[in-house]
Symmetry: C2
Subunit: 190 residues, 2 copies
Amino acid sequence: MKRQVRVLAVDDAPFKFDNDRAMVVGVVMRLPNYLEGVLRSECKVDGDDANQVLELMVQGSRFKPQLKAIMIDGVALGGFNIVDIDALHEAIDVPVITVTRDPPDLAKMGSALRKHFPDWEQRYEILRRKELLEVGTGHKPILVSLAGIDYYEAEEIIKKSMVRGAVPEPLRVAHIIASGLAKGESKGKA
Amino acid sequence: MKRQVRVLAVDDAPFKFDNDRAMVVGVVMRLPNYLEGVLRSECKVDGDDANQVLELMVQGSRFKPQLKAIMIDGVALGGFNIVDIDALHEAIDVPVITVTRDPPDLAKMGSALRKHFPDWEQRYEILRRKELLEVGTGHKPILVSLAGIDYYEAEEIIKKSMVRGAVPEPLRVAHIIASGLAKGESKGKA
């Protein structure tokens, strides 16, 4: 792996349940913590445009040729707007890594999907398709799912992303920006 | 000076001349480059609310007790919405440092003010009141004006803020966030 590794880290901003749309913030970072760019988009809350939003964010960016990976905080943007990372990787030809700290309760998510979405089976299939793999961080391990990248390369990128604590720095920064802009002041941690 | 030094760095987002308001972004950073919070506000383009906007941004922030200084990119937000840093320091009781890379052309600014603002003399007085002091950065020196802080302490904060190049890292990050959010993708450098 080259010395300079750039990733795009994506998080959604907090939203209220009567909001139609949620802000999506992308942060281009040279690992571990040199911010090079910030991108903004938005997606439909509980919609199905997460892939399209991320594809446009990446394709429209001058940073695209330099990106080693897209890191996404969780598996969805704006509620249940689930990202199909295999399709995203295929569309943009950049590896995709989702990062979560706690294993999702798939049974609970499945029943919430069934209740609220006519296309729940499709959303549930995306949620369940990818294996969650553990990556050690020196703190609590994090869970990743991968598309277009093998475990060892993903692990190297995650380890290069760590500054303090158990959250990759690009995702921590994306979270602070997204929540700070949504609320006026950011609170809590990614 | 304590080991952990936090500053709030402020920049305005690019705006078009038919915009009434410009976004203002504040970044709370533990020097040199650990982002802890992002604050958002806005001010009137060419208005006179810059001090009020910054005062509310600081007073409303949970970070206020920990701030060693406010750094402002330039002497105004949103065009000619000039910050009176003496009055700001008095209002918030936190030292204020403006940072510019090139000496302003005061004569040119004065004649622009005279042409467009009935209260041009007041604005011009604020612009001229503060001495600009040079701080070495290892690259091109930067120019600062100060309120509530002496030269040597300001110099120490500036030097602690440097990561690469000649712009304090908190201001570089505030600039990237502000311009990224205004345009969708940030361009250029602070």
